[in-house]
Symmetry: C2
Subunit: 291 residues, 2 copies
């Protein structure tokens, strides 16, 4: 089974747990709608790659960890798309959850996915309780307040943004969760994996800024120019397109050299290189708005 298939199976299995019995039908559908078909599943792919580099001695733990991380990511997308945030109509090429279902169901979908993520991890304690607790601790830290993606979104309501804290929490947090949860799922200490996650997160932020500036809506499957529109800080605005692309390459080579020593170190470096190529946007016909 390929990695992408393995991740999608884990996510589908997790959603089925949230849909058990005879639940309210629309909310049950919306849970599935919000998580499928997935995007690149980049966070669980990193998580699984780290777990495999560390030996993946308990594949069901890694499956649970990957699913939980992806559910939290999908929940954050559903809430970020709400009218009071980005007011987005399109996500991954289809209607956002509040457009397809309703705003109440979008709020509840996000809430339910967050809770389901922790349920999946608590259930994984049947394989190894110690790892399950560590996974929950890392995922709560990187998703909630004061350091996680909730904090990241919270910074957007401040009159003065702490830019470093903003980027670390808004984008970096779930990449740190990805590398650390991958290590924990395979029975390794999570601390040495912090830096790889933080650097991949930084790279992702710069790449996202480049895509937001360079691509059109059709290519991206979501609205573009959102940073300009909402006055959010953006690497392209600060460094220009060439500067941002050069910065992206630097961060990624730093990420690769930060990989802790482990059995699958070489393959993991290769995965980061592949993600890097995937991330690096190629400028298109649309006029460049910055740089």
């Amino acid at each position: 089974m390929g990695l992408h298939t393995r991740i999608n199976s884990a996510v589908e299995a997790a959603i089925r747990i949230g849909q058990g019995g005879t639940p309210p039908a629309k909310l049950s559908e919306a849970l599935h709608y919000a998580c499928t078909p997935g995007g690149a599943r980049i966070r669980p792919t990193i998580l699984m790659s780290v777990a495999m580099a560390c030996g993946d001695d308990s594949p069901k733990m890694a499956d649970a960890a990957a699913a939980a991380l992806e559910l939290i990511h999908c929940a954050s997308l559903v809430h970020d798309d709400l009218p009071c945030f980005d007011n987005a109509d399109i996500r991954r090429g289809k209607s956002t959850v509040h457009r397809a279902y309703s705003e109440p169901l979008a709020v509840l979908t996000g809430d339910s996915l967050i809770i389901l993520a922790f349920e999946i991890l608590a259930r994984s304690a049947e394989h190894n309780a110690d790892r399950a607790i560590k996974l929950i601790r890392v995922l709560t830290r990187q998703s909630g307040m004061p350091f996680g993606i909730c904090a990241g979104q919270g910074w957007e309501s401040e009159p003065k943004i702490d830019l470093s804290a903003y980027h670390k929490s808004k984008t970096g947090a779930l990449f740190i969760a990805a590398t650390q949860m991958g290590a924990i799922a395979a029975g390794q200490d999570e601390e040495p994996w912090f830096e790889l996650g933080a650097r991949i997160g930084e790279a992702f932020q710069v790449a996202d800024d480049l895509r937001d500036a360079l691509y059109d809506c059709e290519t991206l499957g979501k609205p573009v120019g959102q940073d300009d529109l909402h006055g959010r800080p953006n690497a392209v605005t600060v460094l220009g397109v060439d500067g941002a692309q050069s910065r992206l390459r630097d961060i990624l080579s730093g990420a690769i050299s930060s990989i802790p020593s482990c059995p699958g170190e070489a393959q993991l470096a290769e995965m980061v290189r592949m993600q890097a190529e995937r991330l690096t946007p190629v400028p298109q016909a649309r006029s460049v708005r910055a740089g």
Copy 2:
């Protein structure tokens, strides 16, 4: 230290964890605002009463469980008050979170409190990992999909409501969590405690219906007549005021006889009786809209 003080200390300690470091200030404030000053803290009071009836051999576990349960309850209030649900301006006698802060911050406050609840429980694993995992499993089940309060809210978006599933999940779920988590925190099996929680939940639902029909906004500290307004099912509409009061007494005596055998059985029955008196509304000057 009295029970109410113990619960409030546990809730305050939990919120401080969500406010660590230098978080975004408004979201940090909003977390505290959403949880203080508390209402009756009825769910953690029941949880603590059960834990004490079972010997309360690990008070820090009970503190963590009580705080986590109250955070989930407060999160649900913040999200339920949002414009897309009840659009409430007042809660516990002060402005709702989205009115006092903003709608984005209210969404994030709810999300952050949910995540913080599970963080608190994961941290309690340092006292006893097995109990921590059980607490997380019960709280995820009773708060998310398909059986928890998210499901309860989800039923309100269905064209045809399964009334029994609706009441069990919308109101009953967190009372079941209260009795079961109290037992788990004190090292007891949670299964025998299901019925007490379910019956208290049923009583609370009927009492809430009576209050909604009988009290004025000033007494209640929140808008009244919400069930009529939103076309939600209500025991007073079905049974009349006298019928609903008689039903409330029946449920509460059933609750008391369902208490499992335990060292503090008598005191626990007394607590349920006290809550019953507190719950039972006295009709006031406002004209009765039903029955």
